[in-house]
């Protein structure tokens, strides 16, 4: 696959399979709007196809992320990121009091709100790592920044979340 051209439809669809999900979640975490994220994924892949002669296989991923990010700059962010969460399993042996359960619920709601309110740069990195399980190195390659920069954003993001969430 490595030595083959991006212009081959088989190679192109493999690149799609490997990256579409990551790209789309990244755009959603940045943007807060699913429809726009999917539109941008579509536009980025069409652009990759048009330029398939110039882009080598190994660079396809970073090309996609760069193109999508540049297109994104032209659009305005208009929604808050709201992630869904599943209920924590309450099936453990200890009987938890209603107060405890209520507090737990409030905590998750607050956490959800805080994640949506993180500054863009911190949020995209933080969610790619915590939700999509991308390593710091993978994120640094996607965003074309250093691993150290990813770590700084992770650090600051957690600090902000902790501050916003107050007493727990």
């Amino acid at each position: 696959m490595i030595n083959r051209s991006v212009c081959e439809s088989e190679v192109f669809s493999a690149i799609y399979k490997n990256n579409a999900n990551d790209l789309r979640n990244y755009l959603y975490y940045k943007f807060g709007d699913l429809e726009t994220a999917e539109d941008l994924v579509q536009e980025s892949f069409i652009k990759l196809w048009k330029n398939c002669v110039k882009v080598i296989f190994q660079k396809a991923k970073s090309y996609l992320f760069t193109v999508a990010t540049n297109m994104f700059i032209d659009k305005k962010r208009h929604e808050k990121v709201v992630l869904n969460y599943q209920k924590q399993n309450k099936n453990h042996i200890d009987n938890q009091s209603p107060e405890f359960l209520f507090e737990e619920k409030e905590f998750m709601k607050k956490l959800q709100f805080t994640l949506g309110n993180l500054p863009d740069k911190q949020r995209e990195v933080f969610l790619l790592n915590r939700i999509d399980n991308k390593t710091y190195k993978e994120i640094s390659e996607m965003l074309n920044i250093s691993v150290k920069a990813v770590e700084k954003r992770m650090h600051n993001a957690l600090k902000i979340v902790r501050k916003e969430i107050g007493n727990v």
Binding site: Y16, A20, N21, N25, N89, L111, N133, Y136, E151, V161
Partner: protein
């Protein structure tokens, strides 16, 4: 502690990544902050990314792709010779580097001898793919469950959607399903990498994780019980057990009002559906009835 101070603006990132332990973090922040950080880290595990049907989007993209112009090349002897050479090399390439893929059906087990002489025994409804010839390292992809007997040699890695398992000559079992991952080491030592965590298992140790929790325990059997027609579980969410029943017996199970997150420990027989249903649902206090090919469940 010096290495921590030097990285004052990243230590939380490194703690999230398990490069810094809880004990080390405790020394850097107040007790109150520490508890909050732990709670946030735990809470984050329950969040999910948005759902996405990437196939539908791909169809849309395919429709919108501009057509490429085809270049016409006049055939001459040089090109013909070149074409034959390409054909020759691609056959060679195909034989050596292309992937072999093997899938098992419902209630089917299959032993696969890998090209280095190692053995993989696939459980039902599982999939394995590996190159026809390994070069630098031995690496393969698994969906579902398999038991491996690995020949000594270069490192041997099983990649799954949940994480990877790496060994140097040993026997181990991997079960990787959606939201469920378990590894049992029967001989030697294996390294499991999941998310950013690395776990080492020696002989007789088992590891399992699902969306809800992570477990480690010690077991005594010499080979996985499923090789002898029995599937067993240790505090596994009922939803996963039901999935296994479905793939083993090729049936549908309608879950009704039961709680699929309650934990089940026990085993079921792979050859007799009635005995299997009894051994799972009676201890869980669940009523069941069979109609056609579907089992309906109901809380007692």
């Amino acid at each position: 502690m010096n290495h921590l101070k030097e990285n004052n603006d990243t230590f939380l990132a490194r703690w999230l990544n398990s490069d810094i332990s809880d004990e080390e973090l405790k020394m850097l922040v107040s007790d109150k902050d520490f508890n909050a950080y732990v709670k946030i880290k735990k809470g984050l595990r329950y969040f999910k990314g948005p759902q996405f049907d990437s196939d539908i989007l791909f169809q849309k993209i395919s429709k919108n792709l501009p057509k490429k112009e085809k270049k016409v090349i006049k055939l001459n002897w040089f090109y013909a010779a070149a074409a034959i050479a390409v054909l020759f090399f691609s056959t060679y390439f195909y034989n050596n580097y292309l992937l072999k893929e093997i899938t098992t059906n419902f209630n089917e087990q299959r032993t696969v001898i890998l090209n280095d002489g190692s053995e993989a025994i696939l459980n039902s409804k599982s999939f394995i793919s590996y190159p026809k010839k390994w070069r630098d390292k031995r690496e393969l992809t698994l969906k579902g469950e398999a038991f491996f007997k690995v020949r000594k040699g270069k490192s041997f890695t099983v990649n799954t959607q949940n994480g990877s398992v790496t060994v140097l000559g040993t026997q181990f079992n991997v079960n990787s399903q959606t939201d469920y991952f378990s590894v049992k080491c029967f001989e030697g030592k294996v390294m499991v990498i999941q998310n950013n965590d690395t776990i080492y298992l020696s002989q007789g140790n088992a590891y399992q994780s699902n969306k809800i929790k992570v477990d480690k325990w010690i077991f005594e059997n010499k080979e996985p019980t499923w090789l002898f027609g029995e599937t067993n579980f240790k505090s596994t969410p009922l939803g996963i057990v039901i999935l296994n029943l479905e793939t083993q017996f090729k049936i549908n199970i309608s879950k009704g009002n039961i709680d699929i997150n309650q934990l089940y420990t026990g085993s079921f027989n792979n050859n007799n559906l009635n005995i299997a249903l009894k051994s799972v649902f009676i201890p869980m206090e669940i009523n069941y009835r069979i109609e056609n090919n579907t089992v309906f469940l109901e809380k007692k």
